[in-house]
């Protein structure tokens, strides 16, 4: 005889009791600081000048968005890094996922190996590549000279454009595996019958790819791209170790500039405002992106 679900009858307080430690901690360590940070952004607290601060309303925000050349440039620099990185990570990730999907033996081990770069800290990735980019003793220059591709030492950070390229390359190495894994999961959820049916109808591999794989992968791709985009706007450790924002200010990204303002100039209030601008910016980007992909889906349906 089946017992009634008496054991499952929930006492009103139980869910709360179970969840309360987490809720309490989240409130203390995340919600409260965020609120405090917003409050700070409305003051002019500057640790270098002294402990006193006065309320100045939204002045920090207007300054950041209209008068702070360096901050506006950091937005541009971040965009310059995000665009090629996103596109290339998507393409490369897709290519590798497609290849992996065809492999039957040993796929788990190869997947795991390729996934490793995505699991190391961006700081480690940057340090490894920084040494590889080394002008005199780095792996890339040494290899290039040995293969005869270059004849003198090549400096990857000699011009702003080259530096951005160098940063993008490291990010691609670091994060393509993630994109690949997401896409691979998406690929594996496409029913095989669709491909079989297409082959019966005489479709070539290319046609199957274009009319079956891509459309069914769209949602997965969108998710992957969105997650990467959000992460790319926060890029920090990579810049810190690889270029420190240089040469000049060409690789100074949003988060890095905010860090300099807060922890080198000690302008805590202004830095808080900057970080909120970043948060709002990311929020808007995400909403735009979601709207676009929903529109696309509606049209495709």
């Amino acid at each position: 005889m089946r017992m009634p679900a008496l054991a499952l009858k929930r006492k009103q307080w139980e869910p709360w009791a179970f969840a309360s430690p987490a809720l309490f901690l989240i409130g203390l360590v995340i919600v409260f600081p965020l609120a405090y940070s917003f409050y700070l952004s409305l003051l002019n607290f500057d640790l270098a000048v002294g402990p006193d601060a006065e309320f100045i309303g939204l002045r920090n925000y207007t300054e950041a968005l209209t008068r702070d050349q360096r901050f506006l440039e950091s937005i541009w620099n971040t965009a310059l890094i995000i665009a090629p990185a996103l596109v290339l990570e998507l393409l490369l990730g897709l290519a590798i996922a497609l290849l992996l999907n065809r492999v039957t033996h040993g796929r788990p081990i190869v997947t795991a190996l390729i996934a490793v770069p995505a699991m190391v800290s961006p700081v480690m990735a940057a340090m490894a590549w920084r040494m590889m980019y080394g002008v005199k003793f780095g792996a890339i220059n040494n290899l290039g000279r040995q293969l005869g591709i270059i004849d003198v030492y090549f400096d990857w950070f000699s011009t702003p454009w080259l530096s951005i390229l160098a940063v993008v390359l490291v990010d691609i190495w670091h994060n393509t595996p993630f994109m690949m894994l997401v896409l691979l999961a998406g690929l594996q959820s496409i029913p095989q019958e669709l491909y079989q049916a297409a082959r019966v109808d005489g479709a070539s591999a290319w046609q199957s790819f274009w009319s079956i794989t891509l459309p069914l992968l769209k949602f997965t791709m969108a998710v992957g791209v969105m997650i990467r985009m959000i992460d790319l706007t926060k890029i920090f450790g990579l810049i810190f170790i690889l270029t420190y924002g240089g040469p000049g200010g060409s690789t100074e990204t949003l988060a890095f500039n905010t860090y300099l303002v807060g922890f080198k100039d000690f302008r805590m209030s202004y830095a808080s405002a900057l970080s909120y601008v970043i948060v709002f910016g990311v929020l808007i980007l995400t909403l735009i992106f979601m709207r676009i992909s929903r529109q696309r889906e509606a049209r495709a349906a």
Binding site: L47, A48, Q69, V135, G245, G248, S250, K264, F266
Partner: protein, 488 residues
Amino acid sequence: MKRLRSATSVALLLVGIAMLGWLAVPDRAPAARPYEGTTIRAVVNAEYVKYSLTLIEKDLYDALGVKIETEVIPADAFVAKTLLEFNSGSSPWDLIMFGPSNMPDYGRHFEPLEPWAAKLKLNFAMDDIVPVFAKVMLRFNGKLVSMPYDGDIHIMYWNKVAFERPENQKKFKAKYNYDLKPPKTWKQWDDASEFFNGWGWDGSQNKLFGAGASYKPSGSGYSYHWWRQRFFAYGGNYFDANMKPLINSPAGVRALEEMVKTIGFYPPGVMLFESEEPKTMLVKGEVPLLHSWTSTGKRVGNPGESVIVGKAGFGIVPGAEIDGKIVHRPAITPGRGMAVSKYSKKIEATMKVLEFISLPEQSLKIVMDAKTIMDPWRVSHLRNDKFRKLFPDADKYLDAIEQSFPLLVPDPVIPAADEYQRKLSFEITEALAKRKSPKDALDTAAKEWDKVTERRGVDKQKAFWGEKLHEMKQLGIEYHPEWAAKAK
């Protein structure tokens, strides 16, 4: 009876001698070390400095029983992190290494030395400190709060092979119409770096480079030092008496334009070079010219890594020819000092440690070692026989340093010095990276300087700067707007 008496006298005599002997022989066991078991915490901004402290740690322990535990905060974060700690009223460190140009921001957190010197009878050998360092590195609000640790200045180094090869001299004369000699003016420096770039001036087939420099914007920014020495030679100064920045005056623009025009003659990677890379290139014979910190000299003379031992020249940094005379303006860049934190719980022990590491013999060990990049700051360092014979031409090296002393230009030692320097270095590297014109870069820097001055309080800054302006005037350094155009 007689035998007993003589035996007793002999015995007494022996005992007497034994007693005398026991009193005369020094104690086998060492006297208890006064601070046995104490560990004090030091904070420094580079592994090199930590290494330098290890050179004296054994002697320190033998003398005082004190051990030093050193934390390294990389130069990038050093000022920020240490000041953040101090400004909130505490610090985990007892002994602080700091950059003297930041004294106005640090000074109020340091424990004055004189009361303790009187109490503990400390001897800092003040007369032995090179006067210009004594002026710049020791005092806050008139009180003595620190001792020098590293006497950073810039001098010029050149590769004799490059300058003395007859073929080189012929080629140079043909192209530039004057004799090839180690440059005395910036124009000559730029000509030489252009001349030497891109071929084997040492007689080999290698593609070598024209000159060395460091331009990375990390820490407080390196490019500022390279720019500054031209800027001041062309008559510049940091601010006028009203705190208006003068960095974007024609002298500054000219200095930066020259740097931008000649950057092609410097090795690839120069935009992100920190202090050591160009030194390595110099001692490996890849650049013939470098003006850089005095620690370079020790690397030049180190046969373990240098190929130019005995083949290097040392001199004063180039200047500008004004009305027939050459004006040199080498920079203090910026050196390091050591101070005791006011918030330390072991002030007495730390004072003794500070005295110890500042002793002429101990500090000599530090500044003589090639791996420490610490530089001489005592007169006795410069005159020390062992140092003068440490490597071929070491005496000429030390003389060049001494000759530079009267000409040195200090940093703007006012509050927010670190910020001024950083903002300026950033803009200089923007121009060097060709992202802005030199004029735009310096104008932006001047605007940033105004913003910093405003945030700190214009009147406060004016007061601090007024003092420094006066000091510099006494050293003969003043703003000369007309020099920029006529300097040769």
